[in-house]
Subunit: 137 residues, 2 copies
Amino acid sequence: MIDQNVHDFLARQPAGVLATTRPDGTVRQSVVYFALDGDRVLISTEPGRAKAKDVQRTGRASLCVIGGASPYPSVTLEGAARIRSAGIGADTARVWSRIGGQSVEPLSDAELAAMNRVVLEITVERVYGASYLESTS
Amino acid sequence: MIDQNVHDFLARQPAGVLATTRPDGTVRQSVVYFALDGDRVLISTEPGRAKAKDVQRTGRASLCVIGGASPYPSVTLEGAARIRSAGIGADTARVWSRIGGQSVEPLSDAELAAMNRVVLEITVERVYGASYLESTS
């Protein structure tokens, strides 16, 4: 599903644009840090955030990742999505390690619950729009 | 609607992530070059492209613009959208000048029609998610 070129590009880009669908059917977009693990896109968020509620309601999300300079390498991943609060220590650490660029020690579910953190997980079903992925920018 | 900080950030960033809604209600995302003119976001595309058809059908679009490096400055603009093929010379030149970084001479509507170009125009009704816009990245 996720080929090596896409995988390597995503490894260099820790942030992307998440899109979900609002209750009225319009699109909501926001910037998120993410990690990729196999065919899962992982995002750390709070259960009360609009994007989390959209995912709870619709069961879907899309992530478009764009490089920082011309020719703007990019790819979009989308699929079924859900909000998880159990067994999220390792996945949350994966995302946080992308923010700081260094390894983060996993916390327990209880610690993450106290911090009001959940994982928004997309199971990637479709990869499209891959462009200029071998660019260095 | 579009304040100075947002305006200045968008002037530095010629590309963003366009989101539209597919016939089945799911989100389509793609990277586009854009220009801003007042409260209008301008994108040059082809009438047969999926994003253009989505806009024809739904009358809406969203653009999220993200900077190229941490802390990933960003902002999302959304609103009513339409596909234009008349009087699009100046607007198309605005977009193309952002791609190459230098002024482009406007073409006539007939010339643009022969090149199969239309303008996807968003009238910005909402600006949200503005973060770290004064960052230099």
